[in-house]
């Protein structure tokens, strides 16, 4: 999508933009529409801000298309910090930045539909695809971890083909389990903990995103690639019974 969006935004000068987040944060937004280029820009800009070590900055993270700086709300020169960020923004074409190093591809088994994915039928209907086409579209897509957020280790993954540009629900589903696969607005999430959600619950994996006692507590990083392998409910139960690693039967390959 979104080469058009980016060039439009660049032409109007709307992006990148620096916006305050309450008194304790600044968000450098590279787009208000999800695009692969804006996501790469956000990741690369975060890495560069970390290297610069600006005064007043307490912590960094990225969202889908933005770099977030948690700042000291009483830092006396927020305007000066914004000027430093602006100079850094102007110093290069962030939309052309490369992806992070050390990325992996994970093929994650999921039960799709049935009692493990009660809103799969709804999601298919919203996509306008036939049921078999929808499953093929889901399982043949490779999505990228665009950001980690919401809950510990939880990935927002995209983008799916345009048919999956389906809105969130206006009513929250009170609870979906850990490992639930949900879909909305061309993105997938696997939940790292049981939670209420406004996204459609379409499947279930045994992949654990957050492993508090492991050496590597967070299983995915922004930039990692993920594809979904459809499995039966029986296979899911077998994986659950046997998996001791938290990988939930995922095949993991390091990308060059």
């Amino acid at each position: 999508m979104s080469e058009t969006t980016i060039s439009d935004a660049a032409r109007t000068g709307a992006f990148p933009q620096i916006a305050p987040v309450g008194l304790g944060g600044l968000l450098v937004r590279f787009s208000d529409q999800l695009s692969e280029a804006a996501n790469r820009a956000a990741l690369a800009f975060r890495a560069e801000v970390a290297l610069q070590g600006f005064a007043g900055v307490e912590e960094l993270s990225t969202s889908l298309t933005g770099t977030f700086l948690r700042i000291d709300p009483l830092y006396p020169d927020v305007a000066g910090l914004c000027a430093q960020l602006q100079r850094l923004l102007d110093s290069r074409d962030w939309y052309a930045a490369p992806l992070p190093q050390g990325r992996r591809h994970l093929r994650i088994p999921c039960v799709i539909g049935g009692s493990h994915g009660p809103q799969w039928g709804d999601a298919v209907a919203a996509s306008g695809l036939a049921a078999d086409q929808a499953l093929a579209s889901l399982t043949r897509s490779t999505v990228r971890v665009l950001t980690i957020g919401f809950a510990p280790g939880q990935p927002y993954m995209g983008q799916l083909p345009p048919e999956w540009n389906i809105p969130r629900l206006s009513q929250l589903t009170p609870q979906v389990p850990e490992g639930a696969l949900v879909i909305a607005i061309r993105q997938l999430i696997i939940f790292s903990a049981a939670t209420p959600t406004g996204w459609r619950h379409i499947g279930q994996s045994a992949f654990r995103l957050f492993r508090p006692d492991a050496d590597r507590p967070f299983a995915l990083n922004p930039g990692d690639e993920v594809s979904i392998r459809a499995i039966s409910a029986e296979e899911y139960e077998n994986i659950l019974a046997q998996d001791r690693t938290g990988d939930g039967g995922a095949q993991i390959e390091v990308l060059a």
Binding site: G22, L23, S61, G66, R168, Q171, I185, A193, G198
Partner: protein, 367 residues
């Protein structure tokens, strides 16, 4: 060899009792929210009463209390929403520090006038840190609620002996005015709705927890443009999130790190204890302030917190005063009437009596 550190035994625990500190920082990029005490003012008050750092971990109780005992004599202080408190058979004052002798039970119960109550211990709770902090965020898989039978390690108390102190708590109970600054999506709301948002009263709904509390508008719900399709974006505590039904949630320290519902504004961090302590039914109002006014408010609160150690006075065993101190259901009203430091921004006392028999916070619906 130094003697072993004391331990705290949990003899009984209601729901929603957890170890908290000032929060877990540095993991936003991995989706880990700050957590920490819902009422950070209480953490500072408890620390001032014990003459120690507010960064030491304490025990937070959400409405229901518990009973505790220690393996050695320890010092404790009690802050936040007042509870009935006994050491052995002796009722003891809230907003005060006490000696808890070894193997004598401390029984706390029935918060009144607020939601979150705190038990602080000399030397702090010294459970093993998780990702660099002791704050519990059970919903996110970081620690769990305390239960009967738990035994908690305690830190070494540098100031053993200093007890029987009290202080007047800073005003924050019973609802009132919340100062807000614009958020990332404020511009998606109409000017008319923004004006209405600041004109009408909101009632704190029973639905709420450490992630956030729902506040019911006196009037129509609030709609924004593109409500169900906006890009998920960074969330910070204090954000006022408009869910699909147009009723706002004010997010607290356990809130998720990102979300896709539009936010109409962000409550100043210094006013979040007022949100957390508002009982169901309490009246809350919102007012936009400029960034400069917001920073001035933060500085004022910081100054008030820094002054707390000097506000600690001996707990005089005057029968009249004791009567007052034990009348914990009056505390909210007494405090807001005093408003000693100019931090009180609203009619905090009017709701207190009505709130004391409001329904318990056990009904917790997350968003």
């Amino acid at each position: 060899m130094s003697p072993p550190c004391p331990k705290l035994q949990v003899l009984a625990a209601g729901p929603g009792i957890s170890v908290q500190d000032l929060g877990r920082f540095g993991y936003l990029g991995q989706g880990v929210s700050a957590s920490g005490a819902a009422d950070l003012i209480a953490m500072h008050e408890g620390a001032a009463l014990l003459g120690q750092s507010p960064a030491l971990a304490a025990i937070e109780m959400a409405g229901a209390g518990g009973s505790f005992s220690a393996t050695q004599d320890i010092r404790i202080s009690l802050t936040g929403a007042p509870m009935a408190a006994r050491i052995g058979d002796m009722p003891v004052a809230w907003n005060a520090s006490h000696l808890l002798p070894a193997n004598v039970s401390l029984v706390l119960g029935g918060a009144r006038g607020g939601v979150y109550s705190y038990l602080h211990i000399g030397g702090g709770v010294a459970t093993p840190p998780l990702l660099g902090a002791r704050a519990t965020n059970a919903a996110a898989g970081l620690g769990r609620a305390l239960a009967a039978g738990d035994v908690l390690a305690l830190g070494r108390d540098a100031k053993a002996g200093m007890v029987n102190q009290r202080l007047d708590p800073l005003p924050r109970f019973g609802g009132g005015l919340l100062r807000i600054v614009p958020s990332l999506q404020t511009g998606l709301f109409s000017q008319a709705d923004l004006e209405r948002f600041c004109a009408i009263p909101f009632a704190r709904d029973p639905r709420g927890n450490r992630m956030g509390v729902k506040v019911l508008p006196d009037g129509a719900p609030f709609r924004s443009e593109g409500q169900l399709t906006i890009l998920s974006e960074i969330i910070v505590p204090g954000d006022i999130q408009m869910t699909g039904d147009g009723v706002p949630y004010v997010l607290l320290n356990d809130c998720q790190t990102t979300g896709g519902y539009p936010r109409i504004g962000t409550v100043l961090p210094c006013d979040l204890p007022r949100v957390a302590q508002a009982l169901p039914g309490a009246v809350l109002r919102f007012a936009f302030v400029s960034a400069d006014e917001g920073r001035a408010a933060l500085r004022q609160t910081q100054t008030a917190l820094a002054a707390l150690p000097r506000a600690v006075v001996p707990l005089v065993r005057d029968p009249h005063q004791m009567q007052d101190l034990l009348s914990y259901n009056l505390v909210g009203g007494v405090i807001s009437a005093l408003a000693p430091d100019g931090l009180d921004h609203g009619p905090t006392d009017a709701n207190t009596d009505a709130n004391t028999d409001a329904q318990p916070i056990a009904e917790r619906e997350a968003r």
